[in-house]
Every structure is written in C-alpha cells, then in structure tokens.
C-alpha cells in the first residue's frame, strides 16, 4: 500500500510529508526531488522507480504530489487517490497552490490522517469529510450527531447525510460534451468520438430516490414502438439539433451513488444523489456524431520562401442555434518571417510566439460558412528537416449535445417527506465543446 505522501513546490521544497509505512525513510523525500523534480529531462513516466522505491506523481499547476511505496500496490488506485486528494483539497480551500497549501497545512495533515490509514484509502467524499473535519473542532457535537457522522462515513450512502432540508426543491442537469475529431486533409474522418458528462446539482430534501432516463438506444429499443413514438413528440423540445431518436452509447461509467447492478440488469439509472454538485455519469459515443464544424484547409507552397494558406470553416447545425468562442489555430512553420491575413469574419492574428495564426470568431449561426486566407513569408533555411505541418485545430462551444444525447426524465421520489416529483423544479442544459478537434493539412 501507499507508504508515504509528499507534496512539493516547483523548487522541490517539501510542503507536506506524511509517512505511513516504516519502509519509507526521509531519504525518499530527497530522492524524488533529485531524480524527478530536478531532472533535466521531461517526465518520461508518471511512475518512477528509484532504488526499489516507486514514486507515483501528478502535478497540479506548479505543485507536485507524490505517493511513495515499496510494495506491489494497485497503481490505478494510487493515481485515483491522488486525484481524489486534489479534489478534496480544492473543495476545502480552492486552488492548489503553494500559498494555499502552506496556509492550510494543519488541515491537510488532518485530512491525510483521515482519508489514508496505513496507506489504505478510506472514505474521501468531501460531503462526508466536511461533517467532521473542520477547522472548528468537533467538541460541540451531541452523541446523536457523532453517531450520525460515523454511520455516514462508514455507511452504504457515504456521500449524503440525513436530515437535509430545502425550502425549494430544485435540481440542475448539465449535459457537457466534448467532441473530438481527427480529419484527413481530404475531409475523411479518421477518428471521431464524443466524451460526455452529466453533471448534476441537487438541492433536494431528505433522502430522495432518483431515476434518470435518456435516449439510450438499448432502452428505447426495449420499450418497443409505442413508447418510442410517445417520446418522439416530447424530445423535439429537447434542445438538441437533430431529430435522432436514440443514440448508441459505447460505454458509460457512473458516480458511486448509482446502483451498478441495477444498471447491468435493467439498464436503469437509479440513485440517491449527493447534495450539491457532482458528476453523475460519463459516457462515450462514436456513432452518428454531429460534427458542428467542418474545416477545409488548402496549403500551397509558392517557391521556397512563401506559403499560401486558405481555410474555410462551415457550421453544420440548425440555423437557429449559435456557436460561441470559435477559435481556429493554423500552425505556421518555424522560419516564418511575416504573415498577411484576410478574414471575412472575426479577427485573425499571427502569434509568432505560438507559431500559429489564431483566428477568433465570437458567434456563428448554423449552416454558415466563413473563410480566411493568409500569405506566409518564410526565411530561407538550410534545415534539412521538413516542416511537420501540425494539424489545424479548432475550439468552440455549441448549445447542443453533438452525440445526440437527450435527457428524457429525471424522477424524484422521497416517500418520507411531503414533496412529490412534480414539486421539484428541474433544469437541463446542453453544452457541446470542442475536445481535440483537428484537421490535418
């Protein structure tokens, strides 16, 4: 199991050092600094073995977190734990920075004592931790409160405490998708996939039982025709842009509150949600993706000292919808000496430091087209190596889900309290963002 956990600043000074096992000595602290933080080479592996000691490391802004062990630990677990540790710290004191860590070092030690026992990760749900790891101490608790805390920390529903009350029961669902594309210069899709997340914010009283439904192909097909046509009428309101009725989900993963065995047998998603914001599910689709933009590049080499570039972008969604924050990044060779750009819409600039022309458009409606052309002057070089022509990449945000996913329902049942599903105010929002959206040229 994890033998020790160290946090360093970018200079390699230790900010936090907590040793759990006898086989990890103080010299491990220095070994990591010398061999990884001060190493001249860029990190070649997130797991480094120095003198039979393994270091798992992640970096957040300029802070290094390293878990150390001499045993054959579950490596995936160690990294998951480090990420979780970051989440917990962020939830407690915001951004992970040297200053915040120094300011909260007592708290961090207290957390480390609680969430890692003898190197074994323990309950690390922020919701539960905040009930008893506070900076105020827990002196004032009554006996009932104490046993409530312990039963929550160890219980089946470790992520939610009892007795939550809201005057207004409300929930928010965000369907956040990132669409990834790699396209050949000829417009052939080399690979495309959507990785999506359903993020939920719940402000619900009591211990509500929720059921979430979406236009999952397997479920829709199972329900048969009658139900599907019934849904079709509703789903047009769904905020998406296509008329697709169901989507094929390649794979999905769920927050630990979701009953996985039930999903496995009935494909229904039921759960008691944590209070506040959390990620309900992640999913991935590869079929029938709506690609919001098409990039058509044209690069022509004029002699040895000039390049002519023309890039056309086409938006491919309902004309009534607006894409935002559009940015096209056209890489330029290292020996570029000057660039002239002309674009129909938005602003374009050559950024020498980034070796790219950056073209920004604030808004663009669906089914439109825009174009940029640039002349790139090159310095003559005797470098034998050809310019690698990195792909043209794009960023954008669109108000629909490129996978076609739609939320069909989210039902809330709380039998003990006197509010019903109809009393809950529900909001849904779809945001599609570019992930790695590249077109080779």
């Amino acid at each position: 199991m994890i033998g020790g956990l160290f946090i360093y600043n970018h200079k390699g000074e230790v900010l936090i050092s907590r040793v759990y096992r006898d086989d990890i000595g103080r010299n491990a602290v220095d070994a990591f600094r010398v061999n990884v933080i001060h190493a001249r080479q860029q990190v070649r592996s997130p797991v480094t073995n120095i003198a039979r000691t393994s270091f798992f490391h992640v970096k957040r802004s300029n802070i290094w977190l390293a878990a150390v062990t001499k045993q054959n630990v579950n490596a995936a677990m160690v990294f998951e734990f480090l990420y979780k540790m970051c989440d917990v710290m962020t939830a407690y004191f915001g951004k992970i920075s040297e200053e915040n860590i120094k300011n909260n070092f007592v708290l961090i030690y207290e957390l480390l004592d609680e969430i890692l026992d003898f190197g074994y990760p323990q309950n690390s749900e922020t919701g539960a931790l905040k009930t008893f790891i506070t900076q105020q101490g827990i002196k004032g608790q009554t006996k009932e409160e104490q046993s409530q805390i312990t039963s929550q920390v160890t219980g089946q529903i470790g992520w939610r405490r009892e007795g939550i009350k809201y005057r207004r029961n409300e929930l928010f669902l965000d369907v956040l998708e990132s669409v990834n594309l790699l396209m050949s210069p000829q417009g052939q899709v080399l690979s495309a996939h959507v990785s999506g997340r359903v993020v939920m914010k719940s402000y619900l009283s009591g211990m509500p039982e929720c059921k979430f439904g979406m236009n999952d192909k397997i479920v829709i097909d199972k329900q048969g025709k009658g139900a599907a046509s019934d849904d079709a009428g509703k789903s047009d309101l769904g905020g998406g842009s296509s008329g697709k009725q169901s989507i094929a989900i390649d794979d999905c993963t769920f927050h630990q509150c979701v009953r996985l065995s039930k999903f496995d047998s009935e494909r229904s998603i039921s759960f008691i949600p944590p209070d506040g914001e959390y990620e309900l599910m992640r999913y991935r689709t590869t079929k029938d993706i709506i690609l919001p933009f098409r990039v058509i590049p044209l690069v022509r080499e004029v002699g040895r000292t000039k390049l002519e570039v023309k890039v056309v972008i086409k938006s491919n969604f309902k004309p009534s919808l607006l894409a935002q924050k559009i940015e096209v990044r056209i890489p330029t060779p290292l020996n570029t000496s000057g660039v002239q750009v002309i674009c129909m819409k938005g602003k374009a600039k050559y950024k020498a430091s980034e070796n790219a022309i950056v073209w920004k458009i604030k808004r663009m409606a669906g089914m439109k087209e825009s174009q940029i052309s640039a002349e790139i002057e090159l310095l003559p070089t005797n470098d034998k190596k050809k310019w690698a022509r990195p792909p043209i990449s794009m960023n954008f945000e669109v108000p629909f889900a490129p996978s076609g996913l739609k939320v069909r329902y989210l039902k809330v049942f709380e039998s003990k309290l006197n509010y019903s599903d109809h009393d809950v105010i529900k909001w849904v929002r779809y945001i599609g963002r570019s992930g790695i959206y590249e077109t080779r040229c």
Binding site: E13, V14, I16, V29, R44, P46, N49, R52, S54, V58, Q71, N72, N74, A75, A76, M77, F79, A91, Y92, F93, G94, N100, N103, N104, F105, V106, L107, D113, D117, F118, Y120, Q122, G137, I138, Q141, K143, T150, S151, T154, G155, F172, L182, K234, T253, Q256, D264, E277, R282, K384, A388, P399, V407, Y409, L410, K411, W427, V428, R429, I436, E438
Partner: protein, 979 residues
C-alpha cells in the same frame, strides 16, 4: 419531455466555484504559512517556552510551528516531552497535531513515548467514537514495543466496538500491529477476530478487514489465512455492491486470488463482478478486469457467456483512455498485457490508440506499442498512414519508435511488407539523421524476414552510408553490405571505408565488419584477399577484445584449413526471424495478468523483481481451464502449473553460494551474423597446432588415445557438413562405438532423463538431462525445449566448482536457434580437471545456462559411476593388501533390498559401470563378491558384496580412504542393480 424545464438557463447554474468561495475564508482567516518562515537561531528554546505556556492558543500555535519544522526536515525531537505534555487536551485539533508529532518521533525516544500511553488508553474509552478511533489509529502507528504491549487490550475492545467507524479503524490497526510484531498478533488471537469482521454488517468494515487480511496473508504465503470459500466469497460479493470505491478495490483484488471450483462458480462470480466495469473509478474497473480475465480461463470457450464477457470487456478498457494521462498510462501498460493474452478483445478498437498531438510522451510511446500489437491485414493501411505521420513529429524517441514500428508491421503483416518498405524509403529521403539510421536498422530485419525480395533498395541505403553515426545503424548497414556483397559492385570499397577507423568503432560494429569482410572474401575471393588479411590481423593482433580476437582466429583458421567448410559455416542459411520476438514470455505474461492494475503490470516485471522481503515473492498463476474435452489455447499453462509443484532442483536465488558462478564469463558468441563455426572434430585436429593445448580439454580430459581415435579424427573434411547440425560429441561417440573394444557386455546403466530446469523458472526454457559415460568420456546429455514464444539463441553453459572438478570440455553446441515448441538434443563432453570444491551432497552439480533471454541456474546430481575409470580393476594381491591397509573405521555397511539378481548377473551388470569383480567366494550358500573401482581423481573404493541365494537383500561393505564417498557409491550400487 415535460418534467424538466427546457431551454438555456442563465442564472440557474452559477459557476462551479461556489463551494470554493465559501471556503476561501479558511485561507484568509488563518495564515498558517507563517509557520514555515521561522528560521531564527534559538528557535527551539523559544518553542519550548511557548509549548509550556498557560494559554491554550499559544500552545496550539507552538505545536503548529513544531509540525511545520518537522515537515521541512528539521530535527525537533528535542521538544518531545514538551509536546507530549500538550496531549491531554479536549481540543481535538491540538490532539491530532500532537499525535502527528508522536508518530514521527516516538521511535527515536521510546522511553518518553511511554508518557503518552495513558492518554491513549483513556482515549480508547472516550464516549466519542471519533476519538476512540483516532486513538487506536494513532497507537498503531507508534512503532515502540512498550506501547504495542498496551495496545492489545484497547484494540481488542475496538474490534468489537458498537460503532462501525471504530471497527473499520481497528481492522486496519491489526495489520499495523502485525507489521511491528507478527507473533503478538497471532498469540492474541487478533487474526480470528479479523476473520470474523468479514461477516460484519457494515460494508466498510468488511472492506478494511479484507485489506488487512490480504496484507497479512502476503507475508504468510501458506497460512491459508484468507480461507476463501464459496460462503466468504458470497459475503464479499454482497459487500462489493455497498462499500466505497476504495473498499471495492480491496475486495476485487482479494477476489482475484480465489480459484473457483468449477466453471459454474466462475461464471456466477463473473456475472456479479461485471457491473463494476461501469464504475467511475478506473482502479475499480481495472481490478474488475483482473478478476474477469483470470476467471475467464475457467470458462469453456463454446459457452455463450464466454463470448458475451469478451464483448463486455472492450468498452470499459477503451473508456480508461479518456481518464487523466497518468491513469491512461497505467491503463495502456495493462492493455498491452491484455492484448497479448486475448487479442480478440480489442481487435476492432485500433483507432482509439491513435496518438493525439498533445498526449504526454509516455502515453504516446505506449499507444504505439499497442498499435503494433493490434496491426493486422484488415487495418494495416490505416496504421501505416498514422505511423508515417508520427515519424515527422518532434520527440526523437517517439519518432524512432514510430520508424521501428513500421518495420515491425512489415514483419508482422506479410501483405504490408512492400508498402512498409516504400514508406521507409520515403522516410530515408527526409535525410533526418536519426530517422535514416532507425530505418536502416529495421530494413535489415525486413531482409532477414523476406530474403531476396527487397534488395533493390540497397542502392538507396548505400547513399546514406556517411550519415550513419550510431553503432546499431552502422552494424546493420555493414551486415547488409556483407550479406549482399555479390550484388553491390563496390562492396569492397564500402567496407574498406569502415575499416579505416576500425579501432574507434564499437565492438558491435567491429564484429559485424569482420564477418562482413569474410563473407565478401568468400563471395569474391580474387579481389578481396588483401582486405580480408587486413581485417583478420586487425581483429586478432591489434585488438584487446577477446570476443573479437576469438572470432578473428576462428575465421582465420577456417579459411586457411578448409575454404569449403568456411563457406558452409559463414554463408550458412540463416533462419528467418520470427515476427513475435517482442512478446512477453508466456509464463511471465500469465503472472502479470494476475497482477493487472498493480505496479507489476506497469513495470511488466514480476513483483519479486522490485519488492523487497517476503512480500510478493509468491508467483501467481492463472487457473487451468476447466470444462472437459477442450484442449484450450495454452497447453503449457497446465504443464507449467504441474511442474512448479516439484521445485527441488532449481536453485531459488542467485544467492551467495553461487557467488563465484556469477562472476564467470558466460558471454555467448556475439549475436548478429552467422552462428560461430562449430568445433567439428576434423577441424580441431587440423587446427591443433594453432590452438595449442586448449583443445585437449575440449575433447575430454582422459581421452588418452586408443586405437579408434586415429581413424576417427582422420575422417575427411568432406564428412563434416553431415555432422554439422548434430551435436559434435554425439558424432564422437559413434566413432568410438565403431572402434569397439571398449564396449561392455551389458553396457553401462544410464539413468533416464529428468527435468532439471522447469520452463516456469527459466522463462520458457526447459532442460531435462542425464549423464552418461561412454568409453571413458563423461557426457551430459540434455534436451532443451523452448516453451516460450520467442526464438532462443546464444546458449552457453558453465558449472560451479564441484567435488570432482567436473567442467564442460567444450562449449555447449546448440547450433540452430531454438524455435518455440522445438526441442533439441545437446551432449556436452565433460572433463574432470576443473576447479574442485566439496559439495553437499558430494555428487551435486550447480549449473548455469545462458541464452539470449537470461541466465538460469539449476542443480542436479550425477551418478558417481560417471567417475569410475575403465582401469579400475585391481590386482588380487593389491586388493587384499589395500583392504587390510584401510582402517576399519573407514568401512561402512549398507543393505540393498529387493534385488533379485544372482551374483553373476549382478557382477555383470556392475561391470558395465566400471565396477570390477576381482574375486568370488562362496561360503555356506552365500556368494561374496570382491570388487574395486577407481574414481577419476585416483581414489580407490573397495567393496564386498554378499549375495545369498533366495534372499533378496544384499549386504555391501565399502572401504575407502575417503569414506565420504561411500554413501554415494552405495546409492550407485542400488541404482545400477535395480535397473
């Protein structure tokens, strides 16, 4: 959809930073960072004063400063008593800080630490469960014997505490205590209590108990501590649905150690584990994959469920690739293993392994590996297009690997070879130095796989000769020039250009150059005589490198004695290289599959390679497949499992007793190029004058002469090629047998071959063997079997010093590379003039065998009759005198039971093993046989064998000046007489 309000929300969802803003106050309110800045002198003194202050706030501040100093590595142990004094407080924050200090320094101040015990014991009784748990948790971390004694009682109570939070903490505490004092834990019966916790009602208690038990069980490999049976498994599976993500990992990892009784049970566990594949925590997913991969082995392949399961595994594995980069790396290393074990799972998922422009380099390199593993005829076009893109990237390592990957594709997918070669040629045209060099190295391999197909590209390669500065690329290029010398007009000029800086080249290049020029000479003898002279003299006279000199001499002698033979040797047909040389050896792969998700799977090494102590030394294996009548894919799984049950012969560690063996030079003949010429008998005779005395030992020590020998060695060289692929010594035997005269009426008894080195322990190499003595020559006859998936070459053997100075009389002759599933017989002539060291037992022999993969060690015992000389027949008179001369103390008597031979038959049989009967006397129906034998080192053993008609029990008395051999001799009698 009506239940949910539609449309875009503006105000409804605020930024995700809300919880952060509420907590910022922490930062602004408390500026703990100031504690980090105190570096004044006299600091310790000041802190001491503050710690003893009456004001609670001041105390707390002081303790914080102490902890901050501790963190940055300052020694604040001097404050121990003052800090411990602060322990008795009802301020929990302060208490925790003091505990933290205690955990760090208690070990260095054990006497002081005792001061804390009372508070701990008291806290363990506190009404607040959080405080009870805190006390027991901290106490377990204080590794001081005196404290652990006091820990037992509170721990016992806490294990049965009414509060689950306390119980789950106590469960881990048992593991802590076990780490400090294992005996104490056993004596106090904590292990049983811990086992009971597996049935606890609270899932988290179950999970922690499982984790603690698994850890304790690891240091007691055979304790059967985690007595997994269907009932406990059922409990674990129930808890699996309810506990935290971490608990699920502990339980799944534990489950993976269980071996279901049959395929039914296996399937039902798999069914209950599959839902975990949808968990958001990647570690839960990977641990579930491990359980499934392992238990799948037991499912019959024709089962519908088997197919379903295979399909279910792919999507979660792909999803792991959208995790954070560090986890992607862990996932990719594991996928690499999974793809090797079960390629069908991901065969359609090639695209997800395409490299993204901004993937970290470690992710890129791993993806590339998997792409090659998944490359097939169906997707090769796509793969090649990608690889070509990668070859133009920035990172040098990545580019090199991409170029190499193109070559591997060519070798793996035959239909693509042509396209790969043309892609490589395009890359060579870029003239980027390292790309060109890498391309040449892989093109050499392509030539080895498809000879006489792509030689048209040689011209292009030759153009780039000057730009090659890396040894591997230079060696590859030289090999190409030598191999195809007849088609390259100016081959001699090209090679000559390399010769100029011969001594500055690396060994690899020098060896290659030597071989290439010899090849050239054999192909174009007229123009290149001078060149070959030059290289031979450079190699033999001016070089310090023994490998180079040896190879030089061998060529020289070959060329000067028999050019025809030289041609046979140097220009011999090479075996085609195999396509899967980079696969992990199957037994290791199986073990690694059992370790999916762990460090072992990241390093691709068994835990014993990087974990110290007893932990992780156990080798895990996949369960054998159940279900009748289907001989599933891995027949070696079963056999490997069987073999490992009988561990005796293999020397477990490369420990000290093998010290000097390890220092021996085991370097085999160098890799590339043709195998070195075998020491064929005729050649050696011819070369005798050159090699000097060295050869004598090669032919076995006491090979004094004998009439057959002359004719044997006189055999015309033309006969050589015939015996070429037969182990040389085998050929020698035939010659001696022809010569006759030495042969015995019954022939010597040779024990059957036994397995000396099981494949399990030697990365797929199995060696079985026996010893024979024929006509005065001792031989070790071995069968080498390759149970791995890659070709084995470069065999070499070496003995440790042993009782009778046995040593190989020549190199181990395994001429052709050993392909997977192939066996080869090798006979190694032994001499008895090697270094001597007394072994226990006396006839024990420790052997090291090396091949291109690794060095392996085993030990075996030879029958002592191997050492009985042919001239062991004593004169009667001498026998009598000697018998009397040897003191009676040296006489030992043994019984040989159940032997049904009469005395003549026995005598005859024994003579076959050079045990000679000198006289026979019959007294009262009892035959007395007087026998003598002589060991190679000159020790005489005298024997009296009493055989009574009708009595199957013989009595034997042995007399010898070195009585320690008697036991061995007796064993030998028994063996010979009973076989």
């Amino acid at each position: 959809m009506t239940e949910v309000n539609q449309g875009r929300r503006q105000k409804a969802i605020t930024a995700p930073t809300t919880p952060v803003t509420e907590n910022r106050q922490f930062g602004s309110k408390m500026t703990d960072s100031k504690y980090f800045t105190t570096t004044k002198k006299g600091e310790i003194f000041e802190l001491k004063a503050e710690l003893n202050s009456d004001k609670k706030e001041k105390k707390k501040e002081a303790v914080k400063k102490v902890i901050a100093s501790m963190t940055v590595g300052k020694d604040v142990s001097a404050l121990f008593p003052d800090v411990v004094n602060c322990m008795q407080t009802d301020n929990l924050e302060l208490k925790k800080l003091v505990y933290l200090y205690l955990m760090n320094y208690a070990k260095s101040q054990p006497d002081m630490a005792i001061m804390a015990v009372n508070t701990f014991v008291k806290d363990c009784e506190d009404p607040n469960p959080l405080i009870r748990a805190l006390a027991v948790r901290t106490m377990g971390c204080i590794r001081v014997d005196k404290i652990t004694e006091y820990l037992c009682e509170p721990l016992r109570k806490c294990l049965k505490d009414e509060d689950p939070y306390v119980r789950k903490t106590a469960a881990v505490c048992v593991a802590k205590l076990h780490d400090i004092n294992a005996q104490l834990v056993e004596d106090q019966g904590f292990l049983d209590t811990l086992k009971d916790l597996i049935s606890d009602s609270n899932p988290m208690v179950v999970a922690n108990a499982v984790a603690a038990l698994s850890e304790i069980a690891e240091s007691h490999p055979n304790s059967n501590l985690l007595d997994l049976n269907p009932q406990t498994i059922n409990k674990l599976l129930t808890a699996l649905n309810e506990c935290t993500e971490w608990g699920q990992i502990f339980i799944l990892d534990c489950l993976a150690n269980y071996t279901p009784r049959d395929d039914r049970e296996s399937q039902s566990i798999c069914e209950r584990v599959t839902p975990r594949l949808s968990h958001a925590n990647s570690a839960v997913v990977l641990s579930a994959v491990k359980v499934l991969m392992k238990f799948m082995e037991m499912l019959p392949k024709d089962l519908d469920y088997y197919g379903t399961l295979l399909k279910k595994l792919a999507p979660p594995l792909v999803t792991l690739l959208s995790a954070e980069p560090e986890l992607q790396y862990v996932a990719l290393r594991n996928i690499n293993l999974i793809v090797q074990r079960r390629p069908e799972i991901l065969k359609h998922e090639m695209k997800v392994f395409f490299v993204k422009y901004n993937d970290p380099i470690y992710v890129k390199l791993e993806k590339l590996d998997i792409m090659i593993r998944l490359a097939s005829q169906a997707n090769i076009a796509q793969v090649l297009a990608e690889l070509k893109e990668y070859a133009t990237e920035v990172d040098v390592d990545f580019v090199r690997k991409a170029v190499r990957a193109i070559g591997r594709c060519a070798i793996k997918v035959e239909q693509s070879a042509e396209r790969c070669v043309s892609t490589l040629l395009d890359l060579i045209q870029t003239k980027v130095n390292y790309v060109v060099q890498e391309a040449i190295v892989v093109i050499k391999d392509i030539f080895r796989k498809y000879p006489n197909k792509y030689e048209s590209v040689i011209a292009t390669l030759c153009e780039n000769l000057d730009s090659l500065d890396e040894p591997e690329a230079r060696a590859a290029m030289i090999w190409i020039v030598g191999e195809y010398a007849e088609r390259i007009d100016n081959a001699d000029e090209l090679l000559e250009s390399f010769l100029e800086g011969f001594h500055d080249e690396s060994t690899q290049v020098q060896l290659q150059l030597l071989t290439a020029i010899v090849k050239l000479f054999l192909k174009k003898p007229t123009e290149t005589q001078e060149l070959v002279q030059q290289v031979l003299s450079l190699a033999t006279q001016d070089s310090d490198n023994p490998d180079l000199r040896d190879r030089g001499y061998i060529y020289w002698r070959l060329l000067s004695t028999d050019p025809v033979a030289a041609k046979e040797v140097v220009l011999a047909e090479k075996p085609l290289i195999s396509e899967e040389t980079d696969l992990i050896e199957p037994t290791l792969l199986e073990e690694l599959i059992c370790h999916i998700g762990t460090l072992a799977s990241v390093y691709h090494k068994p835990p014993s390679a990087f974990v110290e102590g007893s932990r992780g030394v156990q080798h895990k294996r996949l369960p054998g497949s159940a279900g009748s009548g289907e001989s599933v894919e891995s027949p070696d799984t079963g056999s490997a499992a069987g073999v490992s049950e009988a561990p005796p012969a293999v020397i477990p560690s490369q420990g000290d007793l093998l010290g000097d063996l390890l220092n021996l030079d085991l370097t085999p003949p160098t890799t590339t190029g043709p195998p070195p010429p075998p020491a064929s008998s005729g050649m050696q005779m011819g070369a005798m004058d050159l090699l000097g005395g060295g050869l004598d030992s090669l032919l076995g020590g006491d090979l004094g002469g004998g009439p057959a020998m002359g004719t044997g060695f006189g055999a015309p060289p033309a006969a050589m090629p015939a015996s070429f692929n037969v182990p040389v010594s085998g050929g020698l035997d035939d010659l001696f047998d022809l010569g006759g005269g030495v042969g015995m009426p019954m022939g010597a008894f040779n024990p059957p071959k036994t397995v000396w080195l099981p494949a399990m322990k030697a990365k797929g190499l199995e060696i079985s063997g026996t010893f024979v003595r024929r006509a005065g020559v001792i031989q070790m006859e071995m069968t080498l079997t390759n149970k791995a998936m890659s070709v084995m070459t470069d065999f070499a053997i070496q003995f440790n010093r042993n009782s009778f100075g046995l040593a190989p009389a020549g190199p181990l002759q395994v001429l052709t590379p050993l392909s997977p599933n192939q066996s080869i017989e090798a006979a190694l002539p032994l001499s008895t003039v090697g270094p001597v060291m007394k072994m226990e037992p006396l006839n024990n022999l420790q052997v090291a065998v090396k091949n291109n993969i690794d060095v392996f060690y085993f030990s075996c015992q030879y029958p002592i009759s191997m050492l009985f000389a042919e001239d062991g027949k004593m004169e009667r008179q001498v026998f009598l005198a000697t018998w009397k001369d040897i003191p009676n103390d040296n006489e030992s008597q043994f019984q040989i039971k159940d032997c049904h031979l009469n005395s003549d038959a026995a005598s005859n049989k024994l003579q076959g093993s050079n045990i000679f009967t000198i006289a026979k006397r019959t007294v009262e129906g009892q035959d007395m046989l007087y026998q003598s034998m002589k060991l190679t080192n000159g020790i005489w053993v005298l024997a009296e064998l009493r055989v009574q008609a009708g009595n199957p029990n013989y009595t034997i008395s042995l007399k010898c000046r070195a009585p320690e051999v008697s036991q061995c001799v007796f064993q030998n009698y028994e063996m010979v007489l009973k076989n």
